[in-house]
């Protein structure tokens, strides 16, 4: 088993990029690997509550994020600095996340085999 850390750094509705990343995440989880997600930069918007991407012709991703715990993906980390820079608070997010400061992210990354 390998430990995967997925870097979620892109805005949620930039085409189908996020959807396709979530497909890889679910596949890794289905292969019984240890999977964690780190939200940073504009990626922190991926978890913002109340999005309606359908109106822009895009599929919603909230239901996939909500289903992650069914796949035993429970390690969701967020870079607090990115969140604050965008005027967001943990309460604005749809899932509970563990907070990490930018200065500590390298320590978090060092604990994983594969960073995507």
């Amino acid at each position: 088993m390998k430990k995967f850390l997925f870097i979620m750094d892109k805005p949620p509705h930039k085409g189908i990029e996020l959807q396709e990343k979530l497909d890889v995440i679910l596949t890794a989880a289905a292969f019984d690997q240890k999977v964690a997600l780190l939200f940073l930069d504009d990626g922190v918007f991926q978890l913002k509550k109340g999005q309606q991407p359908e109106k822009q012709g895009l599929k919603e991703t909230a239901s996939i994020f909500n289903a992650l715990n069914i796949y035993d993906v429970n390690d969701l980390y967020i870079e607090v600095d990115s969140l604050q820079e965008r005027g967001l608070r943990p309460g604005d997010l749809s899932l509970p996340v563990k907070e990490f400061y930018r200065k500590d992210v390298n320590v978090l990354m060092a604990g994983y085999d594969i960073i995507i």
């Binding site: 390998k2 995967f4 189908i16 990029e17 396709e20 497909d23 890889v24 596949t27 890794a28 292969f31 690997q33 594969i114 995507i116």
Partner: protein, 129 residues
């Protein structure tokens, strides 16, 4: 060392596919092993058989086909990424009544499981673009 490679960018959106190609050539020259190259997201456009470019453009598809033939590299195009973008592989082309498929020589179509398998077998996994 055993490498697994993923390519996410189309030939013209960034040059990361070409970087991957150069990396693979260099790795093979140094007697490393490249277990698989997985084309995902916009990367599937590297495998388009019928994208015929002017002669002075970078011919990525031809380069990959040649590399696959010479070095027996496993070039895998993600089936769901391909279907989303209209690249038709053998079965799907027949089902749609087309005369031919879109996949260039040396590439094969398969699923995300092939990507995961490669990351688990490799010593290093590198994602380009």
């Amino acid at each position: 060392m055993k490498y697994a490679i993923q390519i996410n960018a189309s030939p013209n959106s960034t040059n990361s596919g070409y970087c991957a190609y150069q990396f693979i050539k260099a790795a093979l020259k140094m007697n490393h092993q490249v277990l698989r190259v997985f084309f995902y997201q916009e990367g599937i456009y590297h495998a388009l058989k019928y994208s015929i470019l002017p002669d002075d453009e970078l011919q990525m598809t031809k380069k990959w086909s040649k590399l696959a033939k010479e070095q027996q590299i496993d070039l895998v195009v993600c089936i769901s990424a391909a279907q989303r973008r209209g690249l038709l592989f053998d079965d799907e082309a027949k089902r749609q009544g087309k005369l031919d498929q879109d996949l260039a020589e040396g590439f094969r179509i398969s699923g995300l499981g092939q990507l995961l398998e490669a990351t688990l077998l490799a010593d290093r996994f590198i994602e380009f673009g």
